[in-house]
């Protein structure tokens, strides 16, 4: 009776917005496999002479919008302060070698997932102008999107390698089929670098698997097993190679200029944001989150890589005479900042990194995409020719300015908080690296100001021949 009185007197906790709206135990699988099913269906829909091109675009758009809607419901029900994985799915897959179909998200995962869902919608919108082989284009775009989502939610290293590697093929085909004039070498670079990264990830995974007894690929088992410092260092080095090919980090950045410079805007958005943020996400999961010895020993290396990346990208952007190349180099900057936060190995730095996974991804996608769009609409990529476009492209100008401010992390922009936390965290433990990254960011500001001044707000090009 007393208990009943207490229960009745206790205030009912207010339900979280969206709570109870969606209770599917397969939310993450739906997010991965629905786009795959739609992509395969689109590939086989008869489309004589492009009659249903508009329908194909709409199907792709509403598929991504639908998955984003589901994701937002899932996000609203996500328990922010629970340290455990949520929306977990765990089904034995190949038990004889220890593979499970294990999916799940935690805080950083949900941030990445929201980024991926948001970028999926944006990529379809940015691809609306595609006219050739529309069916194949949107099929491949959905497959690329699904593979990135799969890599984010994978909680089994085998599944992670599967999705990590699976994203290469649709992206390379999108580049070859719909890219700029130097698309084929760009695609081979993408395959080469990302293939190297996938190889490094696979070897690192198998080394972890072997060192932890060779019974399971599940992250819960692999990343919690007690490993010697030597193994941790070896695996950590391999994971850094894998991450560096994706983010990209200097000196494994060779694909970035060509791919981001040649890919169509819709593909640029995916590559520059969610697909490349996977590199930082991997470092967070495997090195910082699970291998304390490797994290402490390799943190100076990570800080150095971050500094070199930001410095190189800023200087290269400053020297570039091609607006798409400038955009590609500038898109490398947020990745460097994210890695700096991870190199700090401090709670504040890591929090900044997690936040910058999202904000940096959006900023990188926006700057690369807007550079591609300006080049496409102005029908030239040369910075020597482009000039005074602000009056003629007001919307693009606004987006360009927002992208620039976001990239630099100025106050009121989402990346401000991320950058502040990252730098505050990093200056304590990696002062040289943090200073170098800050200097690189200052040079990036100069490069951005130069581009903005020349392309948007400078005098219009009066030479009719150009």
């Amino acid at each position: 009776m007393t208990l009943l009185t207490i229960v009745q007197a206790s205030p009912t906790p207010a339900p979280a917005p969206g709570a109870g709206l969606f209770t599917s135990p397969f939310l993450l699988s739906i997010l991965i496999w629905v786009p795959v099913i739609v992509a395969v269906s689109l590939a086989f829909i008869p489309n004589p002479r492009g009659r249903y091109d508009a329908l194909v675009k709409q199907i792709a758009f509403f598929t991504n919008l639908g998955t984003l809607g589901l994701l937002m419901i899932g996000y609203s029900q996500f328990e922010n302060f629970l340290p455990t994985m949520q929306y977990e799915e765990k089904i034995p897959w190949l038990p004889s070698i220890g593979v499970t179909y294990h999916l799940g998200v935690d805080g950083p995962g949900i941030a990445m997932l929201v980024l991926s869902g948001f970028i999926g919608v944006v990529s379809v919108l940015a691809s609306w102008g595609v006219r050739e082989r529309v069916r194949s284009y949107f099929s491949l775009l959905l497959l690329a999107q699904a593979s990135v989502t799969g890599a984010i939610v994978a909680r089994d290293m085998f599944v992670l390698v599967l999705f990590w590697g699976a994203s290469i093929i649709p992206l390379a085909l999108l580049l070859i089929g719909w890219g700029g004039p130097r698309r084929v070498p760009a695609a081979w670079r993408l395959v080469g670098y990302w293939g190297l990264g996938t190889g490094a990830l696979a070897v690192g995974t198998l080394a972890l698997y072997s060192a932890s007894g060779g019974t399971s690929f599940d992250m819960d088992a692999l990343l919690k097993s007690a490993l010697s410092s030597r193994v941790q260092l070896g695996v950590g080095a391999l994971m850094i190679v894998a991450a560096a090919t994706r983010l990209p980090l200097f000196p494994l950045h060779g694909w970035a200029r060509d791919v981001l410079g040649e890919a169509p805007p819709g593909v640029v958005v995916i590559v520059a944001s969610a697909a490349s943020r996977l590199g930082a996400f991997l470092l967070l999961r495997v090195i910082v989150g699970a291998e304390p010895t490797a994290a402490h020993l390799l943190s100076p290396v990570l800080a150095a890589l971050a500094a070199l990346t930001v410095g190189y990208a800023a200087l290269a952007a400053l020297r570039s005479l091609d607006i798409r190349h400038t955009g590609a180099y500038l898109a490398m900057v947020p990745g460097g900042i994210t890695v700096l936060g991870l190199a700090a190995v401090s709670p504040l730095g890591i929090m900044g990194s997690v936040l910058s996974l999202f904000t940096g991804g959006v900023a990188a996608a926006l700057i690369a995409c807007i550079c591609a769009t300006v080049a496409e609409r102005a029908q030239t990529r040369s910075l020597a020719v482009l000039g005074g476009l602000a009056p003629r492209m007001p919307n693009a100008t606004w987006l360009f300015v927002i992208a620039a401010l976001s990239l630099l992390g100025v106050p009121l922009m989402a990346s401000f908080a991320a950058n502040v936390m990252t730098f505050f965290g990093a200056f304590k433990t990696q002062p040289i690296g943090a200073f170098a990254v800050a200097a690189g960011l200052a040079v990036s500001a100069v490069a951005l100001a130069t581009v903005l001044g020349r392309v948007l707000f400078g005098a219009p090009n009066s030479n009719p021949a150009s």
Partner: protein, 470 residues
């Protein structure tokens, strides 16, 4: 009931012989082109069903010369499925002879079944030669010169295998595989055992087209009819690999006599196959080199000489066999190189999808059959600490995937050539209900192999256990 396990073999061989006789006598009606492949595919599917149902019984027959264990069940079921899909998906107008085209894959499948059930060296050799002979017939139909070359290469391979088997018999005093295993359990590895092993596996590698021995049979496959090429690249390789796995299982007590050869051959095949696939542009040679690369992964799994490695190799052999046999069959003529398949995705979507999946699976691209097989082998390599071989394998896979993307670009990104310029060398594959169904089933197998990987890998593991491996 004991002999019910022989029903699949009986069905396959009777069908093949009946088709041969009826075709030779000219009793095939004109309309047979429409139903003969369908009937053959259905008979093989029935045999597949019987194998799965009755093959679970463990038994020996013919006085112990043949045995039915889990290894035989796995290999026989796999090869029956491969044969059925290959016959169904073939581009029959591109074949030189209907009755030989139907009969030879069945005879090759029968050869693999004999090798898989063999309890002694004689059965192994007989099964291998039967599969190889079927390929020679199909190759010689179109290009007698290449048929002769294959015959000579095959003769060299046979000599090496026979000399190796004879030495092995002389060293152990037994032709029975389990007895050889028992004898070797109490022996030390010696040069007298290492030399015949080298000859034996040299012969098998020549048969299978494993690098560097692929220079013999591989060019022959490129001039054959589509199904002939599939037979040579796929089923003969499966026969040689089946014989190799059984012999390796007998030699496992002294792995030092064969493991070094397997390491070297695997490394060469994995990297060389990928690099060669990237270097060529024509789809059939590319597919053949991709198959060589995947064969290297199978050899790498065998080199571990553990049950997990052997099971992974078997698992991959199933995936590789189906893609390597059916891929060229799906490709059709395509004698005009890359141009022949340009834009095939637009004009023959189902066949192009099958072809794309075959190439990607042979390259080990995720999430297809070949990827799961290669990763299972990679896990076995990691467990045994062979990280150098693993690294080389991954390098080969990256090269292979790059090559596969090149073929996908031609299939889907390039536009089809004008019909007026197409000609016989680039003729489009014929569309029939059977070939479409075959391509769909093939695609489902390649895409679903990983999804249903647990029962398949479980059976492969039982197969490795049946060979006496730990």
């Amino acid at each position: 009931m004991t002999y019910l396990v022989l029903l699949p073999e009986a069905l396959v061989v009777v069908t093949a012989v009946a088709v041969l006789i009826v075709g030779r006598m000219g009793w095939l009606p004109v309309l047979s082109r429409r139903f003969l492949p369908l009937v053959a595919a259905l008979v093989v599917l029935v045999a597949f069903g019987v194998e799965l149902w009755a093959g679970a019984a463990l038994t020996t027959y013919f006085g112990g010369a043949m045995l039915q264990d889990r290894f035989a069940l796995f290999a026989k079921a796999a090869v029956l499925l491969i044969a059925a899909v290959a016959v169904a998906s073939a581009d029959w107008p591109a074949e030189d002879s209907l009755h030989l085209g139907v009969a030879m894959p069945l005879l090759a499948a029968f050869g693999v079944m004999v090798a898989a059930s063999a309890a002694d060296m004689v059965g192994l050799w007989a099964g291998l030669e039967l599969a190889a002979a079927a390929a020679v017939v199909l190759v010689a139909l179109r290009r007698p010169d290449l048929g002769l070359r294959l015959l000579v290469v095959g003769a060299v391979a046979t000599s090496l295998v026979l000399v190796g088997l004879a030495f092995l018999y002389a060293s152990t005093g037994n032709a029975d595989l389990s007895a050889i295993h028992d004898v070797l359990s109490s022996r030390q590895p010696t040069l007298a055992l290492a030399i015949p092993t080298l000859l034996l596996f040299g012969g098998l590698a020549l048969r299978a087209g494993l690098a560097p021995f692929h220079v013999g049979p591989l060019p022959v496959g490129l001039g054959a009819s589509p199904l002939g090429a599939g037979l040579l690249i796929g089923l003969v390789t499966v026969a040689a690999a089946t014989a190799g796995i059984k012999l390796l299982a007998a030699l496992t007590p002294i792995p030092s006599v064969y493991a070094p050869y397997a390491y070297v051959a695997a490394a060469l095949a994995m990297v060389g196959g990928g690099a060669a696939a990237l270097a060529v542009r024509s789809p059939r040679p590319r597919m053949a080199y991709l198959a060589v690369g995947q064969l290297g992964w199978i050899a790498a799994g065998l080199a571990t000489h553990y049950r997990s490695g052997m099971a992974a190799s078997l698992f991959l052999l199933g995936a590789s066999g189906v893609a390597a046999t059916c891929g060229p069959a799906l490709l059709g003529r395509a004698e005009a190189g890359e141009t022949a398949i340009a834009g095939l995705g637009a004009v023959r979507p189902v066949r192009a999808a099958g072809l794309a999946l075959a190439v990607l699976s042979l390259a080990g691209a995720p999430p297809l059959a070949g990827f799961f097989g290669e990763l299972a082998v990679a896990a076995a390599l990691a467990q045994s600490g062979n990280f150098v071989l693993l690294g080389l394998g991954l390098l080969g896979s990256v090269l292979s995937v790059a090559a596969a993307i090149g073929t996908l670009r031609v299939l889907y990104i390039q536009g089809p050539i004008e019909e007026a310029r197409r000609g016989a060398a680039a003729a489009l594959p014929a569309v029939t209900a059977l070939s479409t169904a075959g391509a769909v089933v093939f695609s489902l197998i390649i895409a679903g192999y990983g999804l249903f990987g647990n029962p398949i890998l479980g059976l492969a593991d039982q197969g490795a256990e049946a060979l006496g491996l730990r």
